[in-house]
């Protein structure tokens, strides 16, 4: 991560030519930072400005514009967003959707991946690819029928319906990734347990799942951000605004507080913080999860 060596490794005895080289490398190092520092600041600037707006008062923004530096400091924006703007409730709704959806997805996907990776099920590669293909479909082709199907199952406009569609749509991808990992577990490990008379369920629960913990963590971090950040399924399956999870509620709030930029900024920060926490807590898992999804 933070390797202290900026310059190229120098041989112990510095001849004139190597010290010259080192100078050149150091100058290149300066050029590198001279490009990267402004670029990074530019990247962070939109976030920084949103934070600055969120702690300004309404009058301050109205008088001096959204781009000015703060002249006031207040949590009024956050208070309004949390209470009147219903972001507090929406965050809780998102938790109620995300937690069961992630757990169920990973549970079901690990079961399917276990069956496909450990047993010679006929056509298993085709099954796996078809399941993955389901996840690659554009959601648009599912929206109208899904809203109809949830209606006929009596789960339209309920959080159960939203959890169900998250699980169904994500399954193929999670199965595929976990399958890749489970396949790498040497068959001797599970074979030995089977010899000792362990049934399929025991092998799954006591041997394979504990070994999968790293990839489950990575997928869990990834799935959490995906489900938490979802918008399109929420507005497809839910109609009652009081039941909206955080992203949908945020857009609603924005319509209601059109020129209250401090409230809008505060609300979007509240919607961003949970996924940012997951990201920082599981940074390494998160990145490896992304890679499993694509470089595999």
């Amino acid at each position: 991560m933070s390797a202290p060596a900026v310059t190229a490794p120098a041989p112990p005895a510095a001849s004139p030519s190597t010290s010259h080289d080192r100078q050149r490398v150091r100058r290149r190092g300066w050029a590198f930072h001279a490009v990267m520092v402004p670029l990074t600041l530019l990247w962070v600037a939109p976030m920084a400005f949103v934070v600055l707006i969120s702690i300004r008062g309404f009058d301050d923004i109205a008088a001096r514009g959204t781009a000015a530096l703060p002249d006031s400091f207040t949590f009024e924006g956050f208070r309004t967003a949390f209470g009147e703007g219903a972001m507090g409730e929406a965050l809780w709704t998102s938790v109620q959707v995300t937690v069961p959806a992630v757990i169920l997805s990973l549970l079901l996907a690990s079961m399917a991946a276990f069956a496909l990776s450990r047993y010679a099920i006929p056509g298993r590669r085709a099954i796996l690819l078809v399941m993955l293909a389901g996840n690659l479909l554009p959601p648009q082709i599912l929206l109208i029928p899904v809203s109809r199907i949830t209606e006929s199952l009596g789960i339209y406009d309920t959080l159960v319906g939203l959890v169900a569609i998250h699980v169904g749509f994500g399954l193929g991808f999670y199965t595929f990734v976990l399958h890749g990992f489970m396949r790498s577990i040497p068959s001797e490990v599970t074979e030995a347990a089977r010899m000792d008379g362990a049934g399929a369920f025991a092998v799954y629960a006591r041997i394979v799942m504990p070994l999968c913990r790293p990839s489950l963590a990575a997928l869990g971090a990834l799935a959490t951000t995906w489900i938490f950040n979802d918008l399109i399924w929420a507005i497809t399956v839910l109609r009652t605004q009081a039941k909206f999870p955080v992203t949908a509620a945020l857009l609603n709030l924005q319509g209601g507080y059109v020129s209250n930029w401090n409230v809008v900024a505060a609300a979007s920060i509240m919607a961003a913080i949970p996924t940012a926490i997951v990201f920082f807590a599981f940074q390494r898992h998160f990145v490896s999860g992304l890679l499993m999804g694509s470089a595999k």
Binding site: T40, M47, M131, P139, I141, G168, A271, V287, S294
Partner: protein, 301 residues
């Protein structure tokens, strides 16, 4: 396992597949069939009907598709989608690749730079959209910045101007995507052979030559994935446009996905919206297949 032992083991396993294992596979598979494949098939059927959600759908054959091609908004959305795929894909790949190459070697500060650049990736597209809506306000940071460097003539209402709305949204989307592409390429670069790069450096190749002739050819696998993923993503794009412009003003930032959503859920033209969805599917299909073929190759090797 030796090659000789494999077949007998496989035969024994097949005989022993217990009902529990079948259940393990069939429950998730049934859920996916019920919530993904069955609805997808339904969309194909609905695309051949006229339906407002009440009563029975009325069969109209290919009328919806015929109507689509004379529908000016649809054509505009299709054109915008092409601009979107090229702009979104091109800029995020160019940016992500350049940053990955720049930040590949460990040196001071690289960790900080990387984190800053892939941080936006964790925000939802809706949050990203609102973050940028704030910047695009008439008195927002973008206009203020332009004014500060003496380009007042470029100041405008970015999201309310039909000429700029689509591109304004595109910038926000690229801001979020670059970090993701960078992560993919960083992983790809880790897989390249550093001794080749060193050897060509010793032979006097310039940095550009080393990248183009040595590193780039080794990234072919990552390129396929990045290409397929960005095209599939750009056909799916919905949230950020919905959060920033809802396709407006005057459909100038309309994409196929937002048009489909409006037709289906605002106007309840369910058959017509399904036809748009089928077009999106058809366009995505080629890239889905590319991705799967590549996956299959990896699986085999």
């Amino acid at each position: 396992m030796t090659a000789v032992a494999a077949p007998t083991r496989r035969r024994r396993q097949r005989r022993h597949i217990s009902p529990v294992v079948w259940l393990f596979l069939l429950v998730p598979a049934a859920i996916e069939v019920g919530l993904v494949f069955w609805p997808a098939l339904n969309s194909f059927y609905l695309s051949l009907t006229r339906w407002n959600g009440l009563g029975a759908p009325e069969q109209v054959g290919l009328d919806n598709f015929r109507e689509l091609f004379s529908d000016g908004v649809f054509r505009e959305a299709l054109g915008n989608n092409v601009i979107w795929a090229v702009g979104f894909g091109g800029l995020s790949v160019a940016g992500g690749l350049a940053l990955a190459v720049a930040l590949n070697k460990p040196r001071r500060g690289v960790g900080v730079y990387r984190s800053a650049i892939y941080l936006p990736m964790v925000f939802s597209l809706a949050v990203t959209g609102l973050f940028w809506r704030v910047q695009y306000q008439p008195d927002g940071t973008v206009n203020t910045l332009l004014g500060a460097v003496g380009l007042e003539s470029l100041e405008r209402q970015w999201l309310a101007d039909p000429k700029t709305a689509l591109y304004a949204v595109l910038v926000a989307a690229v801001w979020r995507q670059v970090g993701y592409v960078m992560v993919l390429y960083l992983a790809g670069l880790k897989g390249t052979d550093p001794s080749l790069d060193d050897a060509s450096a010793v032979d006097g190749a310039s940095a550009w030559q080393r990248f183009w002739y040595v590193t780039w050819p080794q990234l072919r696998g990552v390129n396929t994935v990045v290409f397929a993923v960005t095209v599939i993503d750009s056909l799916r794009t919905f949230d950020i446009v919905w959060a920033m412009t809802q396709g407006g003003p005057y459909h100038s930032s309309e994409l196929l996905s937002t048009y489909m959503f409006q037709q289906g859920f605002t106007f309840l033209n369910l058959g017509y919206a399904s036809a748009v969805a089928v077009v999106i599917f058809a366009l995505a299909l080629l890239f889905i297949i590319t991705y799967l073929v590549r996956t299959l190759k990896e699986e085999v090797s």
